[in-house]
């Protein structure tokens, strides 16, 4: 392969990262069949690998790929129509030109929005929503989606097939919800994006604490949503929350690969540009209506981002915000975070009392962060044996190597003290 071919391969890979969702979404608008749209999108990228070394990389790779994928789809639909000797009811009679002809860009953006609302339709299970979003909007392989969510590849493949079949047979529409439906439908989309982000932020399993690919995809989609729905304050707030959280990415793992808690992070390594952008967005989101769940979460992230040190954090503000959040979004995980904040404001005994109320919470039965938080408070109270037992329990509940190493260090520390 000559050097220019390497450049072409890199251009195709780059186009795949940037344009996959646009190409797929524009093709799905034509086919109304996600399987067919996926096949045609894949074929368009394969075609690019063959054509671009000869003809050069087009000025607008996305438009080129979209045209090829849609032409493939149209051919497939025509073949199918001939087989059935009846006109396909779904072929849209718009004209597609030769590869390279410009397509109007705004329509492509609407396509992506339609695709994300289809993937996150409430008639699909949450697992299916997440899987479809990663597969169809982020272009992750089925194996990658399975790995991120700790299931077998065959299980994930079956889940994706079932979900796409439901979209087709139950006719889940490929459209942006009406303004009346939008708030409720948007909530599901935001939940899915937050779940993807959280899974990337603290990978449940594996050698790395952070799955940067998932983080970048979640951030990318949150940006798309905010760009396309600039007046939906919760979409703005979710993007702010992600930015304010992600600004700490570089300081969360030490040079030797060890977990660094928020309390111990080198705040000079936090990305001040990202924090500033997050705070700008948050201010915009708070300017509209009473704050929603994501605005309050973003406000919490902002208080941490602006604190000069862990000790100098405005803990009263943090506890107050968690109380607001618990009212908007009653959840044991929120109560857990609130208890930790209480321990910083009123001391470990008060924090421990708040945590112990959560011990019987079924939703937290396998949530190792509860045990890790208890271990930390017991350690601060110098109740060494109980602290060791809590850390042991937390260790049992995580499959992430970096978290396990951290907990083992803590156990050794409280045992020898």
């Amino acid at each position: 392969m000559d050097p220019s071919s390497h450049d072409v391969v890199r251009a195709v890979e780059e186009a795949c990262r940037r344009e996959w969702a646009r190409v797929l979404a524009a093709t799905a608008r034509l086919t109304r069949d996600l399987d067919l749209a996926e096949d045609c999108t894949q074929e368009a990228f394969t075609q690019a690998l063959q054509s671009w070394p000869v003809a050069g990389v087009p000025d607008r790779p996305g438009a080129w790929l979209t045209t090829v994928a849609r032409n493939r789809a149209r051919d497939a639909l025509r073949r199918e129509a001939r087989l059935r000797t009846t006109l396909p009811r779904l072929v849209v009679a718009d004209v597609v030109g030769a590869p390279g002809d410009a397509e109007p860009t705004p329509a492509i953006d609407d396509d992506r929005l339609r695709l994300i609302f289809t993937c996150c339709h409430p008639a699909l299970s949450r697992e299916a929503q997440v899987a479809l979003t990663l597969r169809l909007l982020c272009g992750l392989t089925t194996a990658d989606v399975a790995r991120a969510f700790l299931v077998q590849e065959s299980t994930m493949a079956a889940r994706l097939t079932r979900a796409k079949r439901k979209i087709a047979t139950a006719r889940i529409p490929y459209r942006v919800p009406s303004p009346e439906e939008l708030p409720q439908r948007l909530a599901a989309v935001l939940d899915v994006l937050q779940l993807v982000f959280t899974t990337g932020h603290s990978a449940p399993r594996g050698a790395d604490l952070i799955n940067s690919e998932l983080l970048d995809h979640a951030l990318g989609l949150a940006r798309v949503l905010h760009d396309l729905l600039p007046h939906e304050s919760e979409a703005t707030a979710l993007l702010a929350l992600m930015l304010l959280t992600d600004a700490r990415r570089a300081s969360r793992v030490s040079a030797s690969g060890e977990l660094v808690l928020l309390a111990d992070q080198d705040r000079s390594r936090w990305d001040s540009t990202t924090i500033a952008e997050g705070i700008d967005l948050l201010v915009g989101a708070l300017g509209q209506r009473p704050p929603g769940r994501y605005a309050v979460q973003a406000a919490l992230a902002a208080v941490h981002a602006e604190a000069p040190s862990w000790e100098a954090t405005d803990w009263a503000e943090i506890v107050a915000l968690y109380s607001v959040l618990a009212r908007l979004w009653p959840s044991p995980v929120v109560e857990l975070n609130r208890a930790v904040a209480v321990s910083m404001l009123d001391g470990p005994i008060a924090g421990l009392a708040a945590l112990d109320r959560l011990l019987d919470e079924p939703a937290l039965a396998r949530y190792g962060y509860l045990d890790a938080a208890r271990g930390d408070l017991l350690r601060r109270l110098e109740r060494w044996n109980e602290a060791a037992a809590a850390y042991e329990e937390a260790l049992r509940l995580t499959d992430n190597d970096v978290e396990q190493a951290f907990l083992r260090r803590r156990i050794a520390e409280v045992r020898t003290t």
Binding site: L83, R84, A123, A170, R171, I172, P173, R175, E181
Partner: protein, 122 residues
Amino acid sequence: MAKYLVLIYGDEQQWEALTPEEQSANHAGHQTFTSAAGPRIVGGEELEPSSTTTTLRRTSAGDVSVTDGPFLETKEVLGGYYAVEADDLDEVIALARQLPELSMSHNAVEIRPVVDHSTSMP
């Protein structure tokens, strides 16, 4: 267009305990629903109580047994259904939201697409 069955489930004891006023309010609700749905409704019936059910089942001996009662013994039973034609699922969801049963917490409405044999290969 696609066809869907809209199945109305609920607690039979609570249905039977409805006062005459509640029954007529429910009836009026169905009239509102059917006029809103218009020609998209292609069929539908209220069902007699589940105690009137007869179940046929293949036995291990290979013949068919005839027994009294519904397939599953639960409080929540199928109380009636509509067959609806619509462009897509969202249209059916929007229609079914208007069913009066959805104002009572013990009920649920299930939407199932009907297999379209007309587009199968000849």
